[in-house]
Symmetry: C2
């Protein structure tokens, strides 16, 4: 598939890609960049990678990336733009091949497409946007797991000027890591993620904030049961990371939020006016959908254990 | 404490109270009423109760309840009014003692106080409203657990005309079952529960409904990750039960919902205008509060295992 790959960012996702590539012997030479130099040094001494640095351009200047065929950017969303800019510089300086395939793992896509256009002056044919729908409670390189993506969805968002071969190669790479690859337009991806991931986080933050504002909050939490526990778990997520995601996916998040607010208004009206039939119908539709989702989760668990 | 107790409703909560009373040998004679006669027959044949029926008045007419000292009503919220009405009839017919202590386990209180006033023409001094903050994923008598209430909160909502001795006796009963008893005015109870339990369910129903309405819903769910899984779990709850709770606690739910909508509007505005500082501040407050709640949960688990 590839002879050389460079992974930028050795957190949970980048680390798990690295480990999966090694476990499945997919690539001959692996290089990595991470802002934490000790992780790079450690990965080199453990012979996980053949080279690396905390600075992409410094690594490129050593010449080891001249034949690199693929870069996977696995850094937080807000840091992607800067990395793309460094890649542009390295290509201009002939430190990276002109036709190198560039891919990512970010959870928002429209903003990255825009950044790439701003930096390259076009949508690079070899830029393949990808998003693995996977994660774990722990983060960081030490939590890496070569099977993290097994039986999970990987969404590729092809753009209008994409090179088909480049897209196919990235799809094959992820399939080799066990992921199930789907294709989806960039704006649809951002809309789906806004509803299934970003909006739940925003709603959970909002409710926990509402409780925390109450002067008797310390007491109120003592009475909260399992419903609140599950609902609020994600409001302990990283404020900085989610701040970045909401702003990066602003348009889709706001659209989803406005639709949600309209549903809340309907429910408020139904409760106010004792519209029992409407309330029951809404809850039944939700319950059936959640049970359908529950069955999908069970199927996924079965696939993982194959 | 009590010589005779009658439990009405042998679901998870009523069954667990029964089992806890037996395990701790708190009462000499136990009676029960449940609309499912087979559960009563089973409980009698297993010698868990000394008598029972699927009809309160029929049981009362046998005369076995003439010396009964306490009734615990553990039926769904919407069914409490009818039970209170039957109790009134039985007292009027001298089939139940005039000074019998009547308690409940319902998760909303204002509506029950109103029902009691409508039926008795006053707030009965021996009516002690109680709400155990406990539950389990399974429901029904077979899922009963004598330790269900251990290290959980039990809220008693005394009313203005309550007999202090009756309140003390119900508090002692729940402490004997392992619960930690707190006292709270009725309206405060309903407000706290609206925020910590009822509102999360409404918000979860609303989001799952929003996804289910989308024509591509079957596909969308395939991309939903852990955040949505946790957030939406409670939207698989019983539509009828939650319909009843939202209407029973209408005033507090609507007040909580309106405050929540105001917070969503602020967040929408912050995202729209890139108000990074405000967004981060809100998320930080929520994260800290959730972590505080997480520590409370850990403490509770420790208490359970003592």
């Amino acid at each position: 598939m590839f002879n050389n790959i460079l992974i930028i960012g050795l957190g949970l996702i980048g680390g798990s890609i690295l480990q999966g590539i090694i476990d499945n012997r997919l690539v001959n030479h692996l290089y990595a960049v991470d802002f934490d130099k000790s992780i790079i040094d450690n990965a080199i001494s453990e012979k996980l990678i053949q080279g690396g640095d905390d600075d992409l351009l410094a690594l490129a200047k050593t010449g080891v990336l001249k034949d690199c065929e693929c870069i996977i950017i696995a850094v937080p969303a807000f840091a992607v733009k800067n990395i793309l800019s460094q890649i542009k510089t390295a290509i201009d300086d002939k430190l990276l091949p002109n036709d190198i395939i560039i891919s990512d793992t970010a959870s928002t896509k429209g903003n990255i497409l825009k950044d790439a256009f701003d930096i390259f002056g076009e949508l690079p044919p070899n830029l393949v946007l990808a998003h693995p729908i996977a994660g774990a409670e722990k983060s960081g390189f030490m939590a890496r797991n070569g099977e993290l993506f097994k039986a999970h969805k990987l969404i590729i968002c092809p753009h209008d000027f994409n090179d088909k071969q480049a897209v196919d190669k990235i799809a094959t790479l992820w399939q080799s890591l066990g992921a199930s690859v789907d294709f989806m337009p960039c704006d649809k991806h951002d809309e789906v993620l806004a509803l299934t991931s970003h909006l739940p986080h925003l709603l959970s933050y909002a409710l926990t904030y509402q409780l925390a504002k109450d002067e008797e909050s310390l007491n109120i939490f003592r009475y909260a049961g399992g419903g609140f526990r599950d609902f609020s778990r994600i409001s302990a997520s990283s404020p900085i990371m989610w701040h970045d995601i909401f702003l990066a996916n602003k348009q889709a998040v706001l659209k989803g939020l406005e639709n949600y607010q309209a549903i809340l208004d309907e429910l408020k009206n139904d409760i106010l006016n004792d519209n029992s039939d409407d309330l029951l119908k809404t809850f039944e539709i939700a319950k059936n959908a959640r049970e359908h989702f529950g069955r999908l989760l069970v199927e996924k668990e079965k696939l993982k254990n194959l």
